[in-house]
């Protein structure tokens, strides 16, 4: 089976936030929950770089390791998904995650957390594929329909890549080779040379 990966090409991302919007729309995520976000480093400076980030579906996922109720599971595609029927909204995965992926709808007073929500790589959850229940809890299951995550599919500069790790890596490697490896090369020409 393929090992699914996200990769964001920092030389290409133009911080349009379309991936964020597309994700919110596709999965009808509740207010205040953002499965994906774009972070800009050195905003406004010549070295400015933007990177789109969501759950990275780690091989050794910290969220999975610290979950007190063991609600995470890794699929055959290497995706880290979770079962909302088991999740208790304790927040531990949010403490442990390096990417700030776990999100919680506010439930009750004093910011009490509801069940965790995060990027599913558009692969839904443990429910039956494309069932109404799965749609309500986890959003659309595009992988079951033979499609890739929407954020990457509609990325206008193809900065965000998603899919089989080997193919993504080959694609990125070919870009890097064309850009030339000189470390002091930076700026837009590096990404759009030809």
């Amino acid at each position: 089976m393929a090992r699914m990966k996200f990769l964001c090409d920092a030389e290409r991302c133009i911080e349009c936030n379309a991936c964020v919007t597309a994700c919110k729309n596709e999965h009808e995520v509740p207010w205040g929950v953002n499965r994906r976000r774009v972070v800009t480093i050195d905003d406004g400076l010549p070295e400015e770089k933007s990177i789109s980030v969501a759950c990275m579906h780690c091989s050794d996922a910290p969220c999975q390791a610290v979950c007190p109720v063991d609600c995470f599971y890794t699929t055959e595609d290497g995706l880290v998904l979770h079962d909302k029927d088991i999740c208790i909204g304790c927040g531990y995965c949010f403490y442990a995650c390096p990417f700030g992926a776990p999100q919680y709808p506010q439930e009750g007073a004093f910011g009490a957390r509801g069940k965790m929500d995060k990027c599913t790589f558009c692969a839904g959850g443990p429910e039956e594929d494309n069932s109404q229940e799965e749609l309500d809890k986890y959003g659309r299951n595009r992988l079951a329909e033979g499609k890739l995550p929407l954020c990457a599919e509609m990325c206008s500069t193809k900065a965000l890549l998603a899919g089989d790790g080997d193919i993504v890596a080959d694609l990125f490697r070919s870009r890097v080779v064309r850009r030339g490896g000189r470390p002091d090369n930076w700026g837009w020409d590096t990404a759009y040379k030809d």
Binding site: R37, C67, V69, P98
Partner: protein, 333 residues
């Protein structure tokens, strides 16, 4: 003569050739500096790779900008979560379980060896008041809350290892959901009780020379000595001070975890969680000892906290200085 001189001459030549070769080995590689110069070398080292700079900033957790508003959304990667994971899942969970199981084993072994510490004199039938009704109410409220919080809290730390094999993931999930809610709601109530306790029993808990003597005699637990004690003996004072320090730290760190609505950052939460876990394990371990001594460990000890009255013979044996004080007060009336 000439034949004898030839070997020394050859030796000399060999020596000088050797020295020359050594000097050449060390100096020739340095000739590169003649061509480049040291100034240029410094300039080159100051220039860094801008791509590497971006990722270095990211790894150092420096803040950028994100259109998605929320807590720490502008931080791309936070590294401290992995440290927290390693600490919690590793040493804290491991040594914590050793501590709790170890204390239980020691107490069981002690009970088998020593048995109950019996009253040395027969009951007189005359009793004096040890704890007022309000103090008892406070004690038992705190105790019940402590037990509930302890069980629900430990369920979150060890439930995955111990309870999931028994209840299954779904079953444990239902219980853990309830446990989390209970823990979060009762936590602040426990804090209020603990703080009142610390304030009203503060006056009984100053450590002094009597306590040192009490420790030297193992509190009368080992051997037949009956060290003197005031209203609270040194062991009880240690329990008080553990609650007044670790217990208060436990409560304060609990508040950080309980109210995420104040926007505290993850590093603060991780630190609070580590403090909460360590202090909780210390208190639970200490409470095993407290419960043991207060119930099956000592004859007559529980009466003071249930009915409020203790027999004078018991008071004489365990808290002689306090008994004297009470009796003097009664006489002076």
């Amino acid at each position: 003569m000439a034949a004898a001189q030839a070997p020394t001459k050859r030796k000399k030549m060999m020596l000088w050739t050797g020295i020359l070769m050594l000097v050449a080995i060390f100096t020739l590689p340095l000739t590169g500096y003649l061509a480049t110069g040291s100034v240029e070398a410094e300039e080159a080292s100051e220039a860094t790779n801008p791509r590497a700079d971006t990722w270095r900033q990211v790894r150092q957790g420096s803040e950028g900008y994100s259109a998605v508003t929320g807590r720490e959304t502008n931080e791309l990667i936070q590294g401290s979560g992995e440290n927290w994971r390693q600490l919690r899942n590793g040493p804290m969970a491991t040594y914590g379980s050793w501590l709790l199981v170890g204390v239980l084993l020691v107490l069981s072994a002690f009970y088998l060896w020593r048995g109950q510490v019996k009253m040395t004199h027969p009951r007189t039938g005359e009793t004096i008041e040890r704890w007022t009704v309000n103090e008892r109410f406070l004690h038992w409220t705190t105790a019940v809350l402590f037990v509930i919080l302890g069980i629900t809290g430990l369920s979150l730390l060890y439930g995955r290892l111990v309870l999931i094999p028994v209840l299954g993931k779904e079953g444990f999930g239902v219980y853990a959901d309830l446990a989390k809610l209970t823990h979060n709601v009762l936590g602040p109530a426990f804090m209020v009780c603990l703080l009142i306790m610390v304030v009203i029993w503060f006056k009984h808990n100053f450590l002094n020379r009597i306590d040192l003597e009490w420790f030297k005699a193992y509190g009368g637990m080992i051997g037949d000595k009956h060290p003197s004690a005031e209203k609270l003996n040194a062991g009880e004072k240690m329990w008080f001070w553990t609650l007044a320090t670790a217990g208060v730290a436990l409560c304060l760190s609990g508040l950080v975890l309980d109210f995420p609505n104040f926007g505290q950052e993850r590093e603060v939460i991780q630190l609070a969680h580590v403090i909460h876990l360590i202090t909780a394990l210390i208190l639970v371990a200490f409470s095993f000892g407290h419960i043991y001594i207060g119930t099956i460990g000592t004859e007559g000890a529980l009466e003071g906290m249930t009915g409020g009255q203790v027999d004078v013979a018991w008071a004489e044996q365990h808290h002689d200085l306090w008994l004297k004080q009470v009796q003097e007060k009664q006489h002076s009336k």
